[in-house]
Structures are given as structure tokens and as C-alpha cells.
Symmetry: none
DNA sequence: TATGAATGAGCGTTCATTCAT
DNA sequence: CATGAATGAACGCTCATTCAT
């Protein structure tokens, strides 16, 4: 997992991490299938053998990117959801956090939402299961808000979560660093649109 | 462009259309890069030569899917945007329409938002330019609504459009026909969340 | 067979000739194998069917180029060799003539000496037999000159003919129309080098 | 570069050299375009991947044949031209040497003078530049002979070089090992014809 | 640990040729 | 006479992966 804002990958970064960082960057830029193992190891300054020593296959690289990202997201969400404050406050915080994380790990997200279908079936289902848990955790927060009355019950929580995550996952498809819109601005408006949409009209 | 709900592709469908329909289906299912030209022509019951008689390359197939879809969408949006009624009413109608179209051409959309990056540079930019026009047309509708006062001016129209289209484009990533949620239900709630989010709190 | 200096190929040229002319030009420029039948018929402004109506195959096109060229050369040589004057005079005239013909039909010659090996075996041997007759006719002239005493007998006539034809056949490999050297100049010096080389030291 | 007279290509020859030798043989026999990569690697007893490990493309194989041959020739010519003796003596030695080399590397030469036009433009021009240097070195020798008076000045040196090299390059088109004419005989007569042709009549 | 030569299966594409119309 | 859709076989090339060293 590579922070978009992170600097150079100095030689003292452990090789597996360096390989993952390089792979993430290239997958985001050219796509998983258009990036050869040779290109990855060249960019990382090692040979194929080294890569196959740490990763069983090219698919493993992809899976590992997903796995790390999902783990990170889940930990953050659980911490926020389990915190103090009203459901609405925690939902707002979680929504803002997922957006900020998305901007921070933009390449990882881009790869994720573009290439899941390329994983072998079993891996794909493992990823989906992790995603589902994450989705449900977020959904519970929405339902809690509906029960406490701060959010209207009219919208099924599942749909609201699909609605919000859908647009979060698409960010990598249009957002370009250095453009006119700042990430913080986008994040705040997105959260606002979600929360306002869930309030009484 | 293939309606997901369409029936069999009988032999009297012109070969180019049949190839496009088959390709759309397979690209949506397994991804562009994981679908070989051989598989496509096998499924269409012809040989590679026949395909290359009509399409210059595998990329052309992809581009043609995009091109047809974008043309269809643009025509529909222009008709709705140029219709009668308040800006809010037309925005609501347009939002509902793009959702219904998305469900109808789910495979085409899935391919679109997953594989644009695989097009050669020039084609990719042609597609982006078409998308931009579409985006701007929709954005104008939002701005008109803000000027007429039915929508709050707080949210920049550009962001609102990215917000909405983002989630529309992700539908293919999670929606499965035959599932618990009906397309009409989803569409209505999505439109409602958008419009409600854009109203005064 | 196309005269390099010939003008446009107007529509009233019989189709077979137009096809041969176009093919000769393209074969000389890009090589036989790198020129597709489609390109030839496009350049000639007809369709494949038309070409296959007149020529049984792409190889036939090549063979016909050779056949016409060899026929032309043989007729010219026989006329010169059977003329009046000393053997040396007739040899000089024949040598000059073959050079001038080579410049005039430069494309045809270029194709000839580059692509003979691409003909099917039987055709290739037919061409070789025609070449051999031509070679022998020229050789007889050299031997006649040696018998009459104007040429030294030291050089085997066969070798002299290979020597001269070798360089004639290579002209297309280096000569470029419009360059510094004029065809007439080259031809005269080549003939001079041959005849002088065959004289008593 | 393969000596025509060389024996079998035992397994201990490095693979790149073995591939080059096999390719040279086949290109000379059937032509570059009519020889598939598959045939080459079959004959060398390896798979395509092995070939592409060492050569970037089929064109590279061709270029390498040229490059090695040109390097060899240039080195030999420079050594002879820079030696002692009159210009005429060095010219005679150089002419004899290029002929003997041509017979020794007959396949390489055959490929060279038949397939240069099949190289990609940049490679083709690199080869032409190398050829030009070679041509100029030889031409300088002729001009030196003209200045020292042993050769007549009547013939432009450039034309004389084209004349001689032309026929040298065609040798592969007609000479067959094992035939009636011996290489040494041919070489001596060719050199004699050149030198005698350049002497005062 | 790490190398890099080599594999083997598959890829997108080309093209001379055929044939129903 | 001429068309052009379609074939079928081959082509150059790629690449994830393996394995002797």
C-alpha cells in the first residue's frame, strides 16, 4: 500500500513493500494486465526470481494490495464506529475518513475498483467477503442514525451505503492531483451531500 | 450495445452487431483483457477473419461499445434537458433516465467504467471528450436549478455531478439482476438522495 | 512491365497491365512479401475479385513481371547479336543496351533480382532456364570476340558474363534517379570497364 | 556470421550464435520472409521464448547478421588499405580479399543483398551508413591508384567501385558450391577484369 | 536468497484465397 | 465480369512461471 503523497522508495524499504508500491503505481497507471512482471521488477531494481521469492504469483501481488487496503479501512472504520458521539456524528466522521483515505491511497483504490474481476475466483470471493463486512459495518451506522431519529428512515440503509461507496470508489476515475478541486473540498461536499440527502426534506 | 434484457442473438442480426453484443457480454463478465478474440468469435459462431473484416482491432470493439453508449446517452440527456418543466423537474427526469439506462445497458456500462484505461491514448481522449460534454450538459441543469432557487447554491455543481455520476457508474460493480433490490427501487432512491441532498437542509 | 519514366496509368490502360504496373512499383518499393494483394488492388482502384479474374495468384503477378521482362530482353539481345559489325561492336552494343534497358525498367529489375527466390519451384526454374538462354547468347558473343582476336582469350567467357551481368543486376540496389550520376554516364563507363577489361593488357 | 564451410553447430556453441547461424542458413535458402521464427527455433532446437530472450525481434536477427558482416569486412579492408605497397597492389589485395570473404560467408552475403529493404527504416539507414563508409574506403584506394598513375583517371572512382561491388554482391545469386567453377578461379578472374579494366587501354 | 535462461501456451493480427451473389 | 464477406492457417510476439545454478 503506497501513500500517494509518499516520497521516493529508498533502498532500505523492505523488498516486498517496495515491490508492492511499484506494482500499485504501475497497475493504477496502465492496468494490471498491461503491466508485466518484468516491468515491475525492472522498476523495483530487482530480478524476477526475487519477486517470486516473496510472492507466489502476479495475482498475489494484486491480492496483497487489496488485502492491505481492506485491513486498513476496516480498522479505521471500526475505531470510528465504536467511538463516542451520536450515530450521525460517527457516520459523518467515518464518511469523511473513507474519503480522505481514498485520496491518500488513490492508486490502491484505483486498482481495486478496476481490477477485482481479474482475481482468481477464490481470491475474488475472499475480497468480496471482506468488502461485505465493511459495507455492513457502515450500514449499521446508518441504521443506528435512523433509529435515533437524526436520519430519515425513508431510504433503505443498504441503498444509502451503496450510493455513497459507489461514488467514493469512482474518485480515482476522474480526480487528478493538482487539479482545480482540492481533496478536502471534495470530501466535505461529498459528506455533506450524503448527510443532507439522508435528512428530513 | 446490448440490452441486458434482450433475448437470443438470432442469426439474422448483422454480424457486426452480433459481435459487439457477444463482446460486451464477455468483457463485462471476464474483463477485456481476459477475453480473447478467439473466444469472442467462437461465441459469435464465426472466424477471426470475419471479425477483422468489420473491426480493425480488438480495441475497436471496445471503442465501438463506448461510442454507441455515449451517443445514446447524449441524445437522451439532450432531449430531457431541452424539454419543458422546471430545472428541478428536468434534473430529476434526467437522473432517473440515466439510472434506468444504466440498468438496461448494464454490461456496456460495466465495461465502460472498468476498461477505459485500456484504450489507446487517442481513442481514450476522444471518449473523455464525449464524456465531458455529457457531464457539462448535466451540470448546466444543476446550475439552472440553483439559479431558479429550487436547489441550494452551497454545493458546486461540478462536484454534485461527479458525486452522482460516480455512484451511477459503479452500479455494475455491485448490482446483480435477480437480487433482492429491484432496479426501479434503487433508481428512485438514488434520485431522491441526490435531489434531497441538493435541497435546503 | 512499367517504364520507370512512364507517366500516369490512365484508366484506359487494360486492367491486367495496370495491375502489373502497380504491383511492380510496390514490389520494388516495399518488397513482394510486404505488399499485400489488398494494397495492390486498392492502388489500382479495383477489388480483389477483379485481380483474381486475370491472375491466378499473387505469385502469377510476380512471374508475369519476370516473363515480360525476360522476353523483352531476349528479343533485344537476339536482334543486336544477329546484326552486322564485328563481334566486339555487337558486344558493345548489347552491353550498352542491357544497361539502358535496366535503367528504363529499373523497378522490374529490382524486383527480379530480389525476389526470384520467392517463386514456387517450377516457376523459378522456368525463369532460370530463360535466364540461362540469355546468358548463353551473350556468352557466345564474347567467345566470338575472342575467336576473332579483338578480345583476349585469357578470361573464360562464362566468367566474363557473370561478371558483367552481376553488376548490371545490382544497379537497382544503389542507383537512385535524380542523383548525381546520370544513367548514360554510368552505362558508358560500365561498358568501357567491361570491354577494356577484356582487351589485351 | 556463419562460415559456409563450417561444420555442424554443436551444442556448446552459445545459443545466440547458434540461432544466428541457423537463421543465416535459412534466410539464404528460402528468404527472410519465407522463414518463420518457428522454423528457426525448431532448427536450433529451442523454443521461441529462448530466441526472444536474446533477440528483440526477427528483424534484429537480420540486423545482427548484417552488423557482424559489415564489421568484419570493414576491419579487413582497413587493414589491407593501410598496409604497405603501391595503391595498385593494395587495391588488388583488397579486391581479392572481399571476393574470398564473399565466398566464405556466402549465405550472409546472399541474405544481405537480398533483404536489406526488409529492415525497418532506422536500421536500414544504419546499415547504409556502414556500407557507405566501406565504399568510400575502397574508393579512396582507387583514387590513390589514379593519382600514382598506375590506374587511368578516365573512370570516376565511384563508378568503378559500384561496378566492382555490384558484381561481388551478386555472386550468391548464381554461384553454387561444388559447381564447375572454383572460387579461387572466379576471384582471380574478377580481380583481373577489374584491374585490367582500370588500366590504360 | 537470488539469478536469468528457457519454456510453453496463448495472444492479436494478417492475408492469400474462395465463393455465393 | 466483378464484388466483398468470410475462411483458415500461419505469423511474430508476449509473458507468467520454472529451475538449474
Amino acid at each position: 500500500m503506497t501513500q500517494t503523497s509518499a516520497g521516493r522508495l529508498s533502498d532500505d524499504v523492505p523488498l516486498p513493500d517496495r515491490l508492492l508500491a511499484v506494482a500499485t503505481r504501475m497497475f493504477a497507471e496502465k492496468g494490471f494486465e498491461s503491466t508485466s512482471v518484468q516491468e515491475i521488477v525492472n522498476a523495483a531494481g530487482v530480478t524476477k526470481g526475487a519477486m517470486y521469492h516473496y510472492f507466489g504469483s502476479k495475482d498475489d501481488l494484486l491480492y496483497e494490495i487489496y488485502h492491505r487496503l481492506l485491513g486498513l479501512q476496516m480498522r479505521r472504520l471500526e475505531q470510528i464506529a465504536g467511538g463516542t458521539g451520536s450515530a450521525e456524528e460517527r457516520l459523518r466522521a467515518a464518511a469523511l475518513d473513507v474519503l480522505e483515505t481514498s485520496f491518500l491511497y488513490l492508486d490502491d483504490f484505483t486498482v481495486f475498483f478496476r481490477s477485482t474481476h481479474l482475481l482468481p475466483r477464490d481470491r475474488r470471493e475472499a475480497v468480496r467477503a471482506e468488502r461485505r463486512r465493511y459495507h455492513e459495518c457502515f450500514r449499521d451506522l446508518v441504521e443506528e442514525g435512523q433509529r435515533e431519529g437524526s436520519l430519515r428512515a425513508h431510504t433503505p440503509a443498504d441503498i444509502a451505503v451503496h450510493f455513497f461507496f459507489g461514488t467514493v470508489h469512482q474518485i480515482g476515475a476522474w480526480y487528478r492531483p493538482g487539479g482545480r478541486l482540492k481533496t478536502r473540498t471534495i470530501a466535505e461536499h461529498y459528506v455533506d451531500l450524503l448527510l443532507n440527502g439522508l435528512k428530513q426534506a
